[in-house]
């Protein structure tokens, strides 16, 4: 699921992927599933039950040095789950692990949606107004603050990203889900 605005921007990332790739321009999933950063992986079983809630997992080792997380353990855990139904981490209390969205985080998602809509209709000032307020409400939410960067003419790999990362670290790296560290067991 690409938490993105433009299929053309997403398409290059999907080279060689055979699984369905969907795009979530309105950020519906970040609201429904309380997702606050990417990559976030959710395991859903054949009964529509969340077997393993929001967790950080990477598909490759591209950023291993930066994140300290290898891709292999999660892949192994997925294979075990598919074969045996066994989940590597028993998260009895998904609500505690993931945490519900706060009122501000929820409102930020709605204002982001408005901002994205206004940008598409050519109201750049209106878009900026709503993106800016959304970021104020949820400054440590990557699906708000960083996702808005390319839509606001800011570089999501430049200074605005580094500023956000510093603030996020200082805030204790808040994340709605199982942090990456736990995949090491």
């Amino acid at each position: 699921m690409a938490i993105d605005d433009d299929p053309a921007v997403v398409r290059p990332f999907t080279d060689g992927i055979t699984m369905p790739v969907l795009i979530d321009c309105e950020h519906l999933l970040t609201e429904l599933y309380a997702i606050s950063n990417v990559p976030t992986v959710v395991w859903i079983d054949e009964h529509g039950r969340i077997a393993r809630p929001n967790g950080v997992a990477f598909g490759t080792d591209t950023f291993k040095d930066f994140t300290g997380v290898e891709a292999a353990p999660h892949f192994d855990a997925i294979r075990t789950w598919v074969r045996t139904g066994e989940v590597d981490i028993e998260v009895d209390d998904a609500e505690a692990a993931v945490g519900d969205l706060s009122e501000d985080e929820l409102r930020a998602r709605l204002l982001f949606r408005i901002g994205a809509h206004l940008r598409r209709t050519g109201d750049d000032a209106g878009a900026e107004r709503n993106f800016a307020t959304a970021v104020e409400l949820a400054p440590h939410d990557w699906t708000i603050r960083r996702a808005a960067m390319p839509l606001r003419g800011m570089d999501p790999f430049g200074d605005p990203f580094f500023e956000m990362a510093v603030e996020w670290e200082a805030a204790g790296r808040p994340y709605h889900g199982i942090p990456a560290e736990r995949t090491d067991g």
Partner: protein, 139 residues
């Protein structure tokens, strides 16, 4: 009266009175804009009716006439709402109960999204399979 845009399960425009911090529309507009109908028994859609414990929050009466406040309707449906008055845009979010069901009941909320070619896919299309929902982004 202002022509507002409502971003809910779909996008619609409707004429609204925005005075007093409310979003007042004619009750006849509700089905088209939000998919629900105001009846004596409450807000109804198909076979489901949500009783209104505080009907005045939905239909204030007085100087509002028979108009309904979309903010009150959203609240009665357990859905968050945010109004950007400057652009006359109202965003109505998903029922908060769905996220609670995900977090406490571990029920994966249903959704329908387009692929990169625009074809819609619903989560239930894969209902008898194990699935990985992988949220990623270009940023």
């Amino acid at each position: 009266m202002t022509e507002i845009t409502v971003l809910a399960d779909h996008t619609a425009t409707v004429s609204a009175d925005l005075t007093g911090g409310r979003v007042l529309v004619l009750p006849g507009e509700l089905p088209r804009v939000l998919g629900w109908t105001l009846k004596p028994e409450g807000l109804c859609r198909d076979d489901v009716c949500v009783p209104l414990w505080d009907r005045a929050a939905v239909q204030p009466g007085g100087d509002a006439g028979d108009r309904v406040d979309l903010l009150g309707v959203a609240a009665a449906l357990g859905r968050p709402a945010a109004l950007d008055e400057a652009s006359a845009t109202l965003a109505v979010g998903a029922p908060m109960e769905l996220r609670r069901q995900a977090l406490t009941g571990r029920t994966a909320p249903a959704f329908e999204l387009p692929d990169l070619d625009g074809t819609l896919h619903a989560l239930e299309a894969w209902q008898d399979r194990k699935k990985l929902l992988v949220a990623f982004a270009s940023w």
